[in-house]
């Protein structure tokens, strides 16, 4: 099993690497297009700001590479958002793999102190679809840290409730993505990563 984590100017790569190691897999961390193209599975992590990260992906042509991939790809957190059509964060066009729009959480008036932003902590996932989930994961808690979210849409593969329901995961063809951090979500997250590895 040859798993590549795409190396680029976004944090959190180390945590994903360690999570895979705990599952007995040694990932390769690289920005080399050939290595990414020929991998069995590709992970596209990301923590950071959408528009500057998109600029970087365009400069390095990683944007074209990612959309052309045929093997299973898993985007995590900002990775999910960048795989969508457009993000309000820095008002940027993104990779357009998923049709969903990325918006900022806006608490209802008077609820600013109830629905704090960022949405930070453990929340439950429901309405699970796609091969990275299985019935045992329904309604389980996973770890989120984000201020922007992908709306519910045709590619929603898991839903979570905050200021309103949003896409906790997306899936289309060989592209999978989670808004939460499976690498930080305890045994539940480890199961999701294991399911991805075994796709």
């Amino acid at each position: 099993m040859n798993i590549v984590i795409i190396k680029y100017n976004a944090g959190n790569i180390r945590s994903v690497q360690f999570a895979l190691q705990r599952l007995g897999v040694e990932p390769v961390i690289t920005a080399d297009p050939e290595a990414i193209k020929t991998a069995d599975k590709v992970i596209f992590p990301g923590v950071g700001e959408a528009s500057t990260t998109m600029d970087y992906l365009r400069e390095t042509k990683l944007d074209q590479l990612i959309v052309s991939l045929k093997q299973p790809v898993l985007g995590i957190c900002l990775g999910l958002q960048l795989m969508c059509k457009h993000s309000e964060e820095g008002n940027t066009d993104c990779l357009g793999i998923f049709d969903e729009e990325v918006k900022r959480f806006i608490p209802a008036p008077g609820e600013e102190n109830i629905h704090k932003v960022p949405h930070m902590g453990w929340n439950t996932i429901t309405n699970l679809k796609s091969g990275i989930f299985d019935p045992s994961l329904d309604n389980q808690y996973v770890y989120f840290v984000h201020s922007f979210y992908a709306a519910i849409g045709p590619h929603t593969a898991a839903a979570t409730q905050y200021t309103q329901p949003f896409s906790a995961a997306l899936h289309k063809d060989n592209f999978y993505a989670t808004q939460f951090h499976p690498e930080k979500s305890g045994p539940v997250g480890a199961k999701i990563l294991k399911n991805f590895i075994e796709l």
């Binding site: 932003v117 902590g121 453990w122």
Partner: protein, 251 residues
Amino acid sequence: MLAKRIIPCLDIKDGQTVKGVNFLDIKSVGDPVELGTLYAEQGADELVFLDITASHEKRKTLVELVQRIARHINIPFTVGGGVSELSDADALLAAGCDKLSINSAAVRNPQLIDQMAKGFGSQFVVTAIDAKYENGKWTVFVNGGRIATDKELFSWAKEAQERGAGEILFTSMNHDGVKTGFACEALAQLSESLSIPVIASGGAGNMEHFKDVFTKGKADAGLAASIFHFKEIAIPDLKKYLTDNNIPVRL
């Protein structure tokens, strides 16, 4: 529904976990990685590792420990006490920590919050505030509670939020280590004045104190050290108690 978080805090000195009473009189209570792993298995939602010697002795080398923690622990963790400039933050993030907590360094150089939020995102930046209630106001202290400043808790927390902090970790020095409950009144006021999450710290002595901090204190997370380290409260029991009291927690 977003769960309330239970966060054991591991104070680190010379690579060992310690817990002081009122910030002084330190006793060693074990290996941080071993303790952290145990807490994660028991259902802790997050961990905080604070190098309590760092700002006093200017020691910065947490990187190796952070990497060892990240390798073993599958829940989020925050590291504090070793960050006084952007390059420290960079090294600790690269080593695998999820959030950085800044305290004295942020008071001395508030722009550090802006720089870190811009460089790594607000979600990385926890602003920790140690404050003491004296003469009718909450005064902010630095250097592990040793030095009083001219800052006041509520306005400083608000400023930190505006500069880009993603969370506030408020420790009441009046309550810390004395186990008579959290500073619920001040916490509620703080939580209501902010739009970012508040982590309550200082004063946990029994399970009811956690119920109170999430209801009366309106905190998003409750942090404690000694009651967990000395096995006075087991995390699974605490979470069951909170669930029985209709407080959403991750089981």
